[in-house]
Symmetry: D5
Subunit: 154 residues, 10 copies
């Protein structure tokens, strides 16, 4: 069983090595098989980790990405490796979240894209970062990401 739209992929199914930095990571894309309609694809990545650029201590985040594909779909295994490439990379919360989104925007040229970065608390105060490429398209359905707010204890 094969699928011709995937025939150019390099990483899917073969042996893969985690790239050591975001720059080294190679995104891959496949033609959108339903490009004549506008729909939303959501990736939920609860396993994101990077390093604090000031202290080199690990930071953790739960990321959710929504996008309305144009001509291209992101290939999910390559996306996973790209996100994994931040493992030993220093980046601030705001900068890191926005730059992931912008790299996807540049690579996929989606009709619209949104990212939510929900960071684990440091100093008792978590930071969330929310971005989208512009006003939510009216005829496309983009459900709320629904991540529960941080509550402290009790």
């Amino acid at each position: 069983m094969t699928d011709s739209i995937y025939s150019d992929l390099k990483q899917l199914g073969g042996a893969t090595v985690m790239p050591t930095s975001p720059e080294e990571a190679e995104l891959e894309r496949v033609p959108n098989p339903q490009a004549d309609v506008n729909y939303n694809v959501r990736f939920t990545a609860p396993e994101f980790t990077s390093l604090c650029p000031m202290t080199s201590q690990p930071d953790f985040a739960h990321l959710v990405i929504d996008y309305v594909p144009g001509d291209w779909l992101i290939e999910s295994k390559a996306l996973k490796l790209y996100l994994g490439s931040f493992r030993n990379h220093g980046a601030f919360h705001e900068d890191c979240t926005i730059s992931i989104a912008r790299r996807l925007v540049g690579f996929l040229e989606p009709r619209w894209l949104r990212i939510g970065g929900y960071w684990y608390p440091r100093g008792g105060i978590p930071i969330d970062v929310f971005w989208q490429t512009g006003e939510m398209p009216k005829d496309v359905w983009i459900p709320d990401q629904g991540v529960p707010p941080y509550r402290g204890r009790g």
Copy 2:
């Protein structure tokens, strides 16, 4: 107790066999008894399963379909058999979700239709697919589908 609008149905109440592919599955429809008003019908199918076209491993999804009927209602047993027919069929998440919706659109000619496909995680990252035929009709009530976001562990 019978209902004449159901008198042409083939599968309801009789013995039924699960169709072996989506193509083989036969949808059925009945006249909409309240066609002079616009309302929304929601089907929730937490038991959807198909195969990955690359690896033939099973995939699972929780599907929710909202539609505003025009002249026709979908018959629910036939819908169930149609969804069951993906059991041994290979399909990508995005393609599969959208094509189910589009087959219903073609068959029912609804005034509006929305599908949410909430797929179980693979590689730690679940994919959700959201589509609707166009902007949500203003005078019809379409509640949020309310499926909780994927949270990982903890």
Copy 3:
């Protein structure tokens, strides 16, 4: 302690008998004491049951009704008896939900009305039915009905 706006009611406070069919049930109404403002009244009826018209097996639903009263308020005990009158009555999910709403619309002439019918699953796939008389009035507050989606198991 009495209240003159209730002085014409027949069923409130006296002995009552559950009507044996929706047709037999008598709705009652009282003048709206706050008719000079637009507000929303919500009834939640988690105890609705009717029969399947094809098999005569019982069906169950959780119903929520929102309405903006005009000159009249529905009397709640009569509403309860009306809903109870479906106990031995055959009706399809879509038809039953919409017809309850339309009878209330005819009887109360509300400024606006909405019904949500959340039916228990049959064949693994529950059906929800959502209707309103028209676009939600802009200056009235109509909170989401907030019924959690069906989740299957796990």
Copy 4:
């Protein structure tokens, strides 16, 4: 430590007696110290109780009040006593909820006000009452009251 805007208050800090009826209760107000911006103040009163005017049996409600203050803020202890004054007072659900809101509107002349009255079930069917003085102001932030719907059992 004192605060001059509170210097005219009668009930705060002194001994207080629960008023025996809503008419007897005296609301108090203080100048709004941030009157040059529009903001929302929410009171949540999970301890409201009144009597049924037909049967004199106690009724219970969870009340939530949102308002955008103009020149005045409600003093919270006086509000608490006013709400407590319904303890031995007969009032229907719809009428009681709306009249509390309207008394506050008359006394505070807020820029906008909303009340949600979430009544405990009687006869298996709870009633919720929702009112606001008009369309939600566009530049003010009024979060959903988020009270969970009644679910029956199970």
Copy 5:
């Protein structure tokens, strides 16, 4: 990076084919690297599906397996393939749940094993099946499986 205790495994890392029946599925095991202490390993399989032996319609279940390993650990990929092999196999709920557990008991000779089978509702009434090989060992920690009960709607 390799691990000698895994050196005899056949299915891990290589291409794998879903076995077509439970009989055909081959379980695999590795030596328990911490066999000198008693601990509990839990597998949660929310993606179980089999066929009803009477009607050949698909059944779905959420399975949770706890076991205290003796000399052997189950290899997780082989377990996944074994569970997947029920996809086109007919089995009743009670029989199916218990037989999965007993095959693991025979193959792994664990110090203790427990299975919970939480089946999706049929006819409105779900069945759960709970088994363990004997009284819970006193010095081992076996947390509750904590699967929420079925609630119907509302």
Copy 6:
């Protein structure tokens, strides 16, 4: 595909009529295919309804039954019809819950049985009824039924 242990069943698969009283309902049983081990089977029936013997008004309950089968398993369709037969039958909460359990005990001769009856509130105060045939067997696993407590509103 057939299963000989079910070959004597009368109601499964054929046309069925809801019995008009509990006395009229016929339970059915099949040999326990795993009778050499002790396990627990749970039925969750969120759709139970009966009548109040004093007022003939409908009562509703969410029932959960756990039992450790001996020689027999209850046949689930017959159980469903038996529970449905209370639809027009008058019974008090305590009596009704216990008598359902005791009829099952007499018919199945289980090694142990437990019933939880979670009744919808009347007069603001729900009643729950809990019974088991004796001390929980030590070597069998009986998870908590986990039905959430009644909370009123708010």
Copy 7:
């Protein structure tokens, strides 16, 4: 439809007046129709209110009562009136909770009784009071009351 075990009741079905103090309230009891087995009956009373004996301000509590009946069942309407009689009665949290339980113990002579009094916070710190007549009987099933703990905000 009548039930002879209820034939001596005074308050059920007739007009009732809320007693003005606990002393004035008259409990009623009926013979236990299933007295040959040990089972648990739970009443949940989310609508309890009394007065603070120091300040005369209203206090509120959510009460849950479990008891294993001996020869008698409490009649639920009389129980409701008894609980309602605390409405204008001054009582401390600890004393009030325990004395309700002990009056029931004296009147019903149950085989075992437990009360949980979950009081609304005063000064930011709620008090819960828990009592039972003795060690939980081993062969009777007494589920946890499951009232969620107080959490403050956030």
Copy 8:
């Protein structure tokens, strides 16, 4: 309305000043009016704050205290002031939690006491501290404190 067992209290009802250290805080106690039975009293204090002894930064905790009173009840306002006295006091999590409990043990001589200290995360890792004076008394009912575990984000 007064209550003689409270006649010796100094702080209740009068003006109070927050003590500036735990040593300065004065606990108060009243005779236990139900001392002939064993019951549990739970205080939930979601507003606890102290200082880190190393950095002087504020720490926060949610505290829950259960105790079975002997001859004395703690007076709740004095307890609140005692807990408030940690506001500017340096104390480690483990030491602080245990020493609060031990001061209460010394002052009240309860039959049994338990404390749960649920501290807000520092460095991503919250600490909880759990202590009780000894084995849980068998005939007294001590419900689980039920504080939800820390989950991070997502």
Copy 9:
């Protein structure tokens, strides 16, 4: 690993002392590295505490701040110290919440800012305060703050 945009910061990484009043606290800011797009940054501060200006008793709140940065980002450690500086400062709920927001507005000149102050209950009635600088910007994504409403008990 350093980041030049942080090179002017005074408090980050060095020894810090909690300022003794809001006036004394020094906010710090860094250039917004993604200033060419509009995004939202959320801080959740579940550890806010101040004093009541009338009674000097501690008050507690859960604060959530959303802002769309312009040229500047708030430095999170300085924000934490600023919020901590209210620890021994008297301020009313409404005034305190709004003034924190306005100080941030003055210092950061954000494109938009919103604050939610969720205060712990006093007298059984919590107050929430909600403010934003103006209508929510249409092309920026500002998720609901999602703090659950206060529920009392039960």
Copy 10:
């Protein structure tokens, strides 16, 4: 403000470097200031990550550790660094969870210790690992870790 029991610590408060392997990480301990009583200390570490030894892909877990200290308390910053040292280390789920616990047991000589390792799903099936050093001590209070079970989607 200092605390003599911490005077020998090397890592607390100074600059720290994440150790590159578990072997390199240095645990630190301080004398238990309340060693004359038995209490439980819980660490919750939702940010644990290691590498799969077969594929070098990252694995993630939520870890919870309970221990009853004897002469020593673990120093929390050193614990955090030790857990962080698994970031680039290959380890199987079962082995990794148990070996963390055993290193703590060797270093702290606690009276009792328990670990729960809740791993993120791989192949749709998460693994949880539970260990304790022996039967739960009877007079110490060890609350359930309460981590919710994995649910898949829907």
